[in-house]
């Protein structure tokens, strides 16, 4: 199978009064058709910007996004309209991403109207009901407004709106972060069922490592605009290579009692500023293994075998990775 979406040397910089903000800094990723790429990182690491650039909701400063081999950034109007129909997004907050003055049916109909699909209103209505059924919204809710519904139902509307055009690629930007755990599980199951039924390709952006492990085939870990590690999901969790990935995995509280009383190693410090970062490993300032050689020049992703890549100068020194896991 070939990659449906490919990002090559993708960069997105923002001009700010204090200098150039490197939101996405030379990211290379690819997503196979029908699979899920989980993009994980903490706030400010550029994961949402990456998702928006992938859909050309933001234009890239440099680099390419290839969709089915075509460069999305170079697309002319008609091609781009075609692309927009096959690439959609589900937003994080079901409270602010829905227009409060539109009913459920109007929200779901809007992409159809904008793209002039089903000009016949009866056909359109049927499509809306079909979509509501697919995402598990009761037909009686068709004329309700978002404020009348709870978070889980609202997120189902967001999903219906994204999927009503039968897209091939969907960017899910923290779709379950605002939901309670019992509702979160319903939505995750729904997204996975829809993927299986319709062969969807997901780019799943989240800060929650347990969620990303559950849903992803491949995972990319981001830190300050850079992808520091990527590989098959199981491999990343079994054998994290980058010290940041290891620190992230260490930091998550686990719901069993085995870790009680064990003082865990907590990485110190906070994420540094993404404005005009110095070349070198972005994580060096917090890294327990950092040496002077880690700064000075950017560290590229290195192939560690089995599709597992890590951007750390020390990868390969396996004993150190073992060390850090204790």
């Amino acid at each position: 199978m070939s990659a449906l979406v490919e990002m090559k040397h993708l960069k997105k910089y923002f001009n700010t009064p204090r200098g150039l903000l490197h939101a996405v800094d030379d990211v290379n990723l690819s997503i196979e058709g029908g699979t899920t790429l989980g993009v994980v990182g903490e706030s400010g690491c550029g994961k949402s910007t990456l998702g928006r650039v992938a859909l050309r909701l933001l234009t890239a400063t440099e680099g390419q996004v290839l969709f089915d081999g075509q460069d999305v950034m170079q697309m002319k109007r008609r091609e781009f309209a075609q692309f927009q129909r096959s690439a959609q997004i589900i937003f994080q907050d079901p409270y602010t991403s829905l227009n409060p003055r539109m009913t459920v049916s109007e929200i779901i109909a809007e992409p159809l109207i904008a793209n002039r699909i089903y000009p016949n209103s009866r056909e359109r209505e049927r499509a809306i009901f079909r979509m509501m059924d697919t995402v598990g919204l009761a037909a009686r809710l068709v004329n309700t407004y978002p404020h009348e519904l709870d978070g889980g139902r609202r997120q189902r509307i967001g999903i219906a709106r994204a999927l009503v055009l039968n897209p091939r690629f969907v960017v899910c930007d923290e779709p379950v972060s605002a939901l309670d755990v019992s509702i979160q599980a319903q939505i995750l199951n729904l997204l996975m069922d829809l993927q299986r039924e319709q062969g969807l390709t997901y780019m799943f952006i989240t800060h929650d490592l347990s969620v990303v492990k559950h849903i992803s085939d491949e995972i990319a870990v981001m830190y300050l605009g850079c992808c520091v590690e990527r590989g098959p999901a199981a491999e990343i969790f079994r054998n994290p290579l980058h010290p940041y990935t290891q620190a992230l995995l260490h930091a998550i509280p686990v719901p069993n009692l085995s870790r009680r009383g064990v003082r865990r190693q907590v990485i110190q410090g906070e994420v540094s500023s993404p404005i005009e970062p110095k070349p070198g490993c972005r994580f060096a300032a917090r890294c327990p293994h950092a040496t002077p050689a880690c700064t000075g020049e950017d560290i590229p992703l290195r192939d560690c075998g089995g599709g597992h890549f890590a951007a750390c100068r020390l990868t390969g020194a396996q004993d150190r990775a073992q060390d850090a896991k204790i």
Partner: protein, 328 residues
């Protein structure tokens, strides 16, 4: 009253009354907390966790929130019958609270050092001088890991994790006997959350404070709490030691649902087992067992009759299935 119990809540009920509706937020809650222990209060949005905390602090919105029954004994005194003037001596001094969102719980126009000093000035029984208070502020800043030089800065100059440290410094400045932490790390990134939790656990041990940790994250409960109370629709549906909750066999169906809903890092799960339906609306609670519309074991009896608390070896489960001690 048992010497070791610092907090005893008996049959507590709280309502919110507005013109349009009556919201029964807390319904007949019984809880006990021993000195030096941490109680985890777990539940989803609208379960009544925060209302319970606000009731203990006597901070329910005036004219809307009412305690309709029950008692709260804290260190021998009934908190609910104290006059507001007497309550001032408790709040911030003997019991204090960390709020969920550090971005909004600090005053944006007052330097952070002054906000820590404020609580010390209010509870200045030791007649500390200005200099002594400043010294104590510096000490608190060092304790929570902020350089004291930064005490003249304003909240917007701090990151989220640092702001939460300031809030914790305020809460702990008077060395309270009971600390209520309402989702203290929900707004923080995981690596920062790990730092804050490690610091809180350390300070709690150092100051011998009892704590109520309100959270929806079962991982945090497993790592920090001694006792766990699971709350649903204003009721405690299960209450027991952290071992009973995480390693025991017997659980309330809602607790089982919560555990089935979370993706696990430590266990492979093919498919999540979520709880069907939506969270009960506290303004329109179902009859009988509050959980029956979502429960996979629901019977006719569950729809009509509210279950009682069934206790075995200190492990309470509020479910008909456990009547007489055994799962039917």
């Amino acid at each position: 009253m048992d010497e070791k119990q610092i907090l005893e809540i008996e049959n507590l009920s709280v309502e919110y009354r507005t013109d349009e509706m009556l919201v029964r937020a807390v319904n007949g809650v019984n809880l006990r907390l021993k000195r030096g222990e941490t109680l985890g209060l777990v539940g989803e949005t609208g379960a009544g966790k925060t209302t319970l905390a606000l009731t203990l602090m006597r901070l329910l919105p005036r004219g809307i929130g009412f305690v309709t029954g029950g008692s709260v004994k804290f260190d021998g005194a009934n908190l609910l019958s104290l006059r507001e003037g007497d309550m001032l001596a408790y709040r911030g001094k003997l019991l204090s609270m960390i709020f969920q969102d550090p971005m909004t719980s600090l005053n944006p126009v007052i330097p952070v050092g002054k906000q820590v000093a404020e609580v010390l000035e209010l509870h200045n029984e030791a007649h500390r001088t200005k200099e002594q208070i400043e010294e104590r502020v510096d000490e608190m800043f060092r304790l929570v890991g902020i350089p004291p030089e930064r005490k003249g800065e304003f909240p917007h100059q701090f990151s989220g994790g640092m702001k939460q440290r300031v809030v914790i410094a305020i809460a702990l400045a008077c060395e309270p006997r009971l600390l209520i932490a309402d989702e203290p790390t929900t707004a923080l990134d995981v690596t920062i959350q790990a730092q804050v939790l490690a610091m809180m656990t350390e300070l709690k041990e150092k100051l011998d404070t009892s704590m109520i940790m309100i959270t929806h994250d079962l991982g945090i409960v497993a790592e920090t709490c001694d006792q766990v109370a699971v709350m649903y629709a204003g009721e405690i549906v299960e209450n027991g030691s952290v071992e009973a909750i995480f390693e025991g066999e017997r659980h309330h169906p809602y607790t089982e649902g919560l555990f089935g809903s979370i993706p696990r890092l430590d266990i492979e799960t093919e498919r999540l087992r979520p709880i069907a339906g939506a969270i009960a609306d506290p303004s329109d609670l179902p009859s009988g067992c509050r959980f029956h519309p979502r429960c996979p074991h629901c019977t006719q009896r569950c729809k009509a009759e509210a279950p009682a608390e069934h206790v075995v070896n200190g492990h309470m489960i509020r479910c008909h299935l456990y009547e007489g001690g055994a799962k039917a």
